[in-house]
Amino acid sequence: MSIILPVSAIIEELQRIPRAVWTANPIIPPIFRSPGTPGTATYDAVFDDADFTLPDTPLWNEAVAAVRRRVSPADARPPDGHREAGTEALAWYASFHSNRDCWGIYIPLSSIPIFDSLFLSHLKISRTDRWRIAWDVLLAHETVHFAVDYACAWFELLHHAPIRRAFADRMGSNVAAELLPNRSAYLEVEEALANGNVLRELVGCVDTDAESALRGFIRGQPAGYRDGELAESNQGFASLVAETLRSYLSVWSSGWNIDLGNPGLDLTRLLPLGEEAHRQCPIWIINDLEAVGLSKDAVRQISCVQPIEETKPFIKALRRLHPDLQKAWARLKHTLSEGIPNASDFKKWKPEGVWSVRVSDGFRAHLMQPPRGPSAQPWLAIEIGNHKKLGHG
């Protein structure tokens, strides 16, 4: 589904429904890690590991072990008083129902190398590629929570009722606590759906080794999360979407005789999961690297490339190219100033800070990363030409 109305319009309307919105701190992660001040990020991210060295310190080892206990309780149960958290131990979604201004997906930067260390480090691909997989996994999971939040809000506007709040009350009700002391604190079917989306988004884009690593990551998680493979197929995904939305709406469906279980309905259409929808969901990055024993710049995320200064040899090479390619470079330069699209295949080319980007079919440009320090320093465009000329084979 594509989003026509901005989410802000829905949030505005929710304010008119009594008890539909509330205030909660979005930066209380479900695991114990010192939160920092969040910054924003874009959906497509590129990582730089130039300053990263894998530490062997008690702080780092404990951070990795703490996440492992919560993500994969089958391997090591969390200590008493700590709840299993599945993927949410690495990233989480703060609802716009409870955070009007700072809702969105929260990812502590430390989650990227920790995820790598726990599940991907054996893969025969570069660390930055593994980090990119970790990033994509976390976003694919959390965007489902955003999509469900959005679909719920639609039903709230239709019913003029605080459906999500009522659901949260039911999950935390005294009756539930008394009858089910060991119950999950989360909606299991929604977590299965979210992990199913991870497989749907990434399987096919990664090699078989990475795929089995992701399946292992999912299968080792707590109840609900570990059923992600049930939502991998279209039919399974639709079935879990229906069950998730019915879980939120059950009392309303029952009370008003609404038949959401009708197999002729495709409730996946109510979930915004397309690229356009992703752009409406803010992504917040928390730099907590020092809290886990890493240096502050150990994981650098490059979310845009700007300003770009063209060197003389670059300008000379550019002038020799076809006018269409010159226009393509101008367009790309503008795009990179706002974000790094996946299609641009932006990747590190040489360890000394040279990055490569796709300009057009068969043509690339090389950019020199500015040295650490003042952020105003420009990226230098140093080479442009066809694959062969630039050494890409």
């Binding site: 009594p18 008890r19 009350d169 539930a176 879980s247 029952s254 279980g261």
Partner: protein, 191 residues
């Protein structure tokens, strides 16, 4: 109109609790008494080619239960929309296999099971009896339901709305306050 809407919220919802119970699961997990929360979770000891029609029927009934009831997490119980008597009739009318003899569904059942279990049959028989199937492993003349059953009970959720919808009902004078302008107007006085 207002009365009708109130009537909807005043009616006591029917709750459905259901379990799958198979002798095969009991053999593998004696402490479970063969009970699981869904067909998917019922472990099997017999090969698929013997029990396929039985599990297909169990699965079909389970799908109907899921189809005509609403989930109510964190509880495993579900909200029933149909009248419970009609619901029971509808389920088993659509899926009559469980009420038949097991050999009508799986011809030569006893022979096939004996062959499949081989030398383990005495141990299996002992475990099945220990888990509550006093007549042992199902035989040809037994009904399918003896060994494979979906049990469900229904009851009224008297305080369901109150206990699960405090945000709707917080401070309301009456127990069941439907979504309405009255509720909205009363809201500022409640918080």
């Amino acid at each position: 109109m207002v009365e009708e809407r109130l009537a909807v919220w005043d009616q006591e919802p029917q709750i459905l609790r259901w379990q799958v119970r198979t002798w095969e699961h009991a053999v593998l997990f004696p402490k479970s008494w063969g009970e699981t929360s869904s067909v998917r979770h019922s472990e099997r000891i017999l090969p698929e080619e013997i029990t396929a029609p039985i599990y297909a029927a169990l699965f079909a009934i389970e799908q109907d239960i899921l189809r005509y009831t609403e989930p109510l997490p964190p509880f495993s119980e579900r909200l029933l929309r149909e009248d419970s008597n009609n619901f029971h009739e509808m389920l088993f009318k659509k899926n009559p296999i469980l009420e038949k003899s097991i050999s009508d569904v799986v011809p030569d059942w006893t022979v096939k099971v004996t062959k499949a279990l081989g030398e383990d049959i005495d141990e299996v028989r002992r475990k099945v009896r220990g888990a509550g199937w006093s007549l042992g492993i199902p035989r040809d003349c037994f009904s399918v339901q003896y060994g494979y059953e979906i049990r469900f009970t229904t009851f009224l959720g008297r305080h369901l709305h109150v206990e699960t919808h405090r945000s709707l009902l917080m401070g309301c004078g009456c127990e069941y306050m439907p979504p309405s302008i009255v509720r909205d107007l009363s809201d500022p006085f409640l918080s």
